[in-house]
């Protein structure tokens, strides 16, 4: 079952509209509707807030501001991960960023709530905010660590000497913009009081356990009294790792009113209220010999952070494990701006970091007159160059070679701006990809019912990635059941807890736990059968047992699982399986465990207007074993396409006068549409099995697709035009001055 291209088991539910998302649950009865009023200044203080008109508007049940919001638990930085911490809202008159919630209006209908929200009168005394990254880029501080607890700075060898002595050098500055996760389903929550003390929280989130702790910590409740329900999530990409104002405000209002309250963010509010990938300025220095071997690598990154909630994206961390070089340096610096907090957006660190580093590698190849694929192969390390441990299962060179072969890389125009087809300047580009693989604590319960069906329960989420499908496959294989006899029950905090979906760890964490739970359950079943004289398996050798088609067979004897369960466990039988935190698993300290890839892209750039369009793209990945080639391909291609958007289109713009995002809808915040992505795009996965990662040999695939894919496109644009744009995205105005004269 594992490794088969099974269709999504939840596909029919979604295609027929029967999969209920956070805003669509009706079990708790008719809810009230909340609408958030956001600050219209970016920094300052509320001097007056008048809710009288809003409170008198039709249908309005409650207007909550800092003046009447309940006391809340503080954001406790001793809790190791941000997403588990309290997220207090409406705590005082100070405004920290544009759009910050200043009131929640709750009414009988959404329209009444939104209309009354307009009637809340707020006066401000605006302060002088720091909004413009360029203005404050040099006013930085050094964070203690960066995201995921990684070191802020690293140094190996003597970079200055190594770089100074290099025969060929690249020393360039790159910038990347604010970017948003922007899943199709906006952040939404419905909170229903249950009994005297409990809250049922229907929420769109990635980590059920974090959502429970965060709600409980904020509302100062016993976490056991908070019941998170999140069976279906319409995309997350990092923006739903934690819960936000929509959930906290709905919960406070539901408790105050004793009725279910639901709150969704409008698309425009999502731009202000859930956080974004920080903007960055990145200096990349590469020093190499004429033979292409790197002597020195440095990656120094400056990013924005919100002053109250520090977020340091690990943008310079990627290069630490990527290429060999004796002299190395990485650093991260932050400048505090009065903007929404930075947060994890798909492939935090790698996505903006590899855009720059892999552009710089292309610049080095150009300076050397060397094929970019060959340059990367020449710098393949034998051990992780900064951690000094072996790689577990590194196949970057195979990805590069296989990708080059399949793509027809040998046809790359050797000279930039040398190939033209009609109005189009044609170019090829490539990039390497690497992403660390992580593991987090996850527990799964597998239960075999008397009718012979299995139910797998965990608080793990399916954020559109395919969790339901792959866990069905792993469970079916583990118990020898047909797929239709395995049912997956996800997204409830009353189930055993997991690290949820994020960091590309969800599939392997939960699958490994299912695998182990099934093994434990098989042992229970065999013990029962073999010790029972009524069983045809009595006294047989358990090591020869084969579970298939709902039966267990040993030699010529066999018995249906259903009969074993009925005889010994008339109420069903269950077992748990666990995946450990990577810090407690020696493989993760003894080995550098990563996923790898190589991207190849062909673009056309309009010679007159600089419009850039992808013509074809092929990427080859090494990710260990794949659970399901169909869901894997969707994940990988989705990531690749996001990289195309990051290279060419995606940018949220801050108005430096107000601190507001200006282009806060999908008409102005551009991401690729179908017309941008040719049919000729493919993701190929090499056969693999990483025995250091977990007993299934699988690694995460949610993020490696975006790592480096934008750089392949950017490098193709250079190959097409001879123009190197280092300020992403590569839009028309940046290419136009370098285009050929019209004849």
């Amino acid at each position: 079952m594992i490794g088969q291209a099974v269709n999504r088991v939840d596909g029919p539910l979604k295609a027929t509209g029967r999969a209920a998302y956070a805003y669509e649950h009706w079990e708790a009865g008719q809810p009230l509707y909340g609408f958030i009023v956001g600050a219209t200044i970016g920094k300052g203080r509320i001097t007056r807030i008048d809710t009288e008109d809003a409170e008198g508007a039709p249908g309005v049940q409650l207007v909550m501001t800092y003046l009447n919001a309940p006391a809340q638990g503080p954001r406790d930085e001793s809790i190791p991960f941000e997403y588990w911490r309290a997220q207090p809202m409406l705590t005082g008159p100070d405004i920290h960023f544009y759009g910050e919630p200043v009131a929640l209006v709750v009414a009988e209908t959404f329209e009444q709530a939104r209309d009354a929200a307009d009637l809340v009168e707020v006066e401000y005394r605006a302060g002088r905010g720091r909004f413009d990254f360029g203005e404050f880029e040099d006013d930085t501080y050094i964070p203690k660590t960066v995201n995921a607890g990684l070191p802020t700075d690293t140094a190996v060898g003597d970079f200055d000497a190594g770089f100074a002595g290099a025969e060929v050098k690249v020393d360039q500055q790159y910038t990347t913009p604010y970017e948003f996760s922007m899943p199709i389903e906006p952040n939404a929550s419905m909170v229903a009081p249950h009994g005297d003390d409990d809250l049922v929280v229907y929420v769109s989130c990635q980590i059920t356990d974090a959502a429970r702790d965060s709600v409980a910590g904020t509302l100062m409740m016993d976490p056991e009294r908070v019941h998170i329900v999140t069976p279906f999530v319409g995309g997350g990409f990092g923006s739903k790792l934690g819960i936000h104002s929509e959930t906290i405000l709905a919960a406070m209002a539901a408790r105050a009113l004793g009725r279910p309250v639901k709150v969704t963010l409008t698309r425009q509010q999502v731009f202000q209220l859930v956080g974004m990938r920080p903007t960055s300025s990145q200096r990349v220095r590469l020093g190499a010999g004429h033979d292409g071997r790197l002597a020195a690598i440095a990656h120094d990154v400056t990013m924005h952070t919100n002053p109250d909630v520090e977020y340091a994206e690990q943008t310079a961390a990627t290069v630490r494990s990527l290429y060999a070089a004796p002299h190395r340096l990485t650093s991260h610096r932050l400048t505090a701006l009065d903007l929404p907090r930075g947060t994890d957006v798909r492939a935090p660190g790698e996505a903006p970091g590899m855009l720059s580093v892999e552009s710089a590698m292309d610049e080095l190849a150009d300076a050397l007159g060397m094929d970019p694929v060959e340059l990367r192969i020449r710098n393949e390390p034998t051990v992780d160059p900064e951690r000094n441990v072996p790689y577990s299962d590194r196949h970057l060179v195979e990805c590069l070679r296989e990708g080059a072969r399949r793509f027809g890389w040998e046809n790359r125009p050797a000279t930039p701006a040398s190939v033209r087809e009609g109005r189009w300047l044609i170019g090829y580009g490539m990039s390497a990809a690497i992403r660390g693989h992580f593991q987090g604590p996850t527990t799964v319960r597998v239960r075999l019912e008397p009718d012979g069906t299995a139910v797998i329960q965990t608080d793990m989420t399916d954020i559109g990635t395919g969790t339901y499908t792959i866990l069905t496959q792993v469970g079916a294989e583990g118990l020898g059941l047909p797929l239709e006899r395995v049912r997956i029950d996800l997204g409830r905090s009353d189930h055993p807890s997991s690290w949820g979906s994020g960091g590309s760890w969800g599939a392997t964490n939960s699958s490994t736990a299912v695998h182990r739970a099934c093994a434990a359950l098989r042992t229970k079943l065999l013990d029962a059968a073999l010790g029972d004289t009524r069983s045809p398996l009595h006294g047989q050798d358990p090591s020869a047992a084969v579970f298939s088609d709902g039966d267990v067979a040993i030699g010529g004897a066999s018995e249906a699982l259903r009969e074993i369960v009925a005889r010994h466990h008339p109420d069903g039988v269950e077992a748990e399986g666990q995946t450990r935190f990577m810090g407690d698993d020696p493989n993760y300290s003894d080995y550098s465990i990563n996923t790898y890839g190589a991207h190849f892209a062909e673009v056309g750039v309009d010679a007159d207007t600089a419009e850039t369009r992808l013509r074809r793209m092929l990427s080859v990945f090494s990710v260990g074993r794949v659970f399901n080639p169909k869901t894997a391909r969707s994940q990988l291609i989705g990531g690749m396409i996001w990289g195309v958007g990051a290279a060419l289109e995606e940018e949220a713009v801050v108005d430096p006068r107000s601190g507001a995002f200006v282009n806060r809808d999908f008409a102005g915040y551009l991401v690729p549409v179908h017309g941008d992505i040719p049919a000729d795009i493919d993701a190929v996965v090499l056969e693999g099995y990483d025995d250091k990662a977990n007993p299934l040999g699988a690694k995460g695939i949610g993020e490696v697709g975006i790592c480096g894919s934008g750089a392949a496109v950017a490098n193709a644009v250079f190959n097409a035009t001879g123009v190197r744009v280092r300020d992403f995205p590569i839009t028309i105005e940046k290419l136009l001055p370098g285009l050929p004269a019209m004849v």
């Binding site: 007159d608 809808d665 017309g675 028309i732 105005e733």
Partner: protein
């Protein structure tokens, strides 16, 4: 809550009278108005739904032109064989706009009077003289990458977002307007739209007691027609710059031309200056360049949109070369 009343019009003249009442507005496809109502930018107290009025037909005119009913859907106009063969620039412009779903809903008349896509117009916390006269223009000094380079004022630098209207401008279309008293007037499309001046909230000459009932296309000029839309992505984006060109060339000389730009001004921008620079000149790049220089002579950038001046010139040059080369 802002409540409003709604009526479905069954009689054209009665609809005009109904919409002439204070606070009343026409609605047809609703692809723009409904968004604006949700965002509290438009707040009519009464909607007159004219989408089912018998104004959907595309008819032959005695002079060889076409009359497009104001309620003809954008998709239907784009697909009409007569439009596709005789006015391909219009068909190309229509299919380059919005998305398939929106084009299926959007009407011809509604497309003409759609509002700007300036982000500050959509942000009720920002100053906008078009939305709230006297409140200033946040786009000046703000993020103005998509804004006007021609004909703007210190009150407003917004652009008109339509593709269709740009093609109609190059085709010398007339807008047919019906008054409540039953009288009809026709306005040349270039006279239908206004520049912002200090009243950017008044975007066209449509009276409160008037309704667009159709668009009249005169017989097309001979020659090649091209609509070229330049944008960051391949679909579902308003034009950074677009050009509608109709060029009649004969043995290497341009006899006659019509040129209109989209994405550059408060209205579809007809360039008589470019047309004059082309007429009776050789069909070659230096002529096109001269036409482009003439067309953009008064252009003013506001920072983020400076590049649109050169982009408009280059787009015009290539479009003219293609149009003249093929005729």
């Amino acid at each position: 809550m802002r409540s409003f009343t709604y009526e479905r019009a069954t009689d054209t003249r009665a609809a005009v009278a109904a919409a002439a009442q204070p606070g009343a507005k026409f609605i047809s496809g609703g692809t723009n108005l409904l968004d604006l109502m949700k965002l509290d930018i438009e707040y009519p107290s009464h909607l007159v739904d004219i989408s089912r009025l018998p104004l959907r037909d595309i008819e032959e005119l005695p002079d060889g032109g076409l009359r497009i009913g104001a309620q003809a859907r954008n998709s239907d106009v784009a697909a009409d064989p007569r439009v596709r063969t005789r006015y391909p620039v219009l068909s190309e412009a229509l299919v380059s706009g919005a998305s398939g779903q929106l084009r299926n809903k959007a009407s011809t008349g509604g497309n003409l009077v759609q509002r700007t896509r300036c982000p500050y117009f959509y942000d009720t916390a920002a100053g906008c003289n078009k939305r709230d006269p006297g409140s200033g223009c946040a786009a000046i000094g703000g993020f103005n990458r998509i804004h006007a380079i021609l004909g703007a004022s210190e009150s407003c630098i917004a652009t008109h977002p339509s593709d269709m209207a740009v093609a109609m401008t190059a085709l010398d279309a007339e807008i047919e307007l019906l008054r409540a008293d039953g009288s009809v007037r026709r306005v040349a499309i270039t006279d239908f739209y206004r520049l912002p001046g200090d009243t950017p909230h008044i975007e066209n000459v449509l009276g409160d007691d008037e309704m667009i009932t159709g668009v009249l296309l005169p017989p097309p000029l001979p020659g090649r027609q091209i609509y070229r839309k330049v944008r960051d992505r391949a679909s579902y984006e308003f034009a950074l710059v677009s050009v509608a060109a109709v060029v009649s060339a004969d043995r290497g000389t341009i006899r006659e031309a019509r040129v209109a730009f989209g994405g550059v001004a408060h209205k579809p921008w007809r360039s008589v200056e470019a047309e004059d620079a082309l007429t009776d000149h050789p069909a070659r790049m230096d002529t096109y360049r001269a036409a482009a220089e003439a067309a953009l002579r008064g252009a003013v950038g506001r920072g983020d949109n400076d590049f649109k001046i050169e982009l408009a010139k280059r787009t015009l040059c290539r479009t003219l070369a293609q149009a003249a080369g093929a005729s």
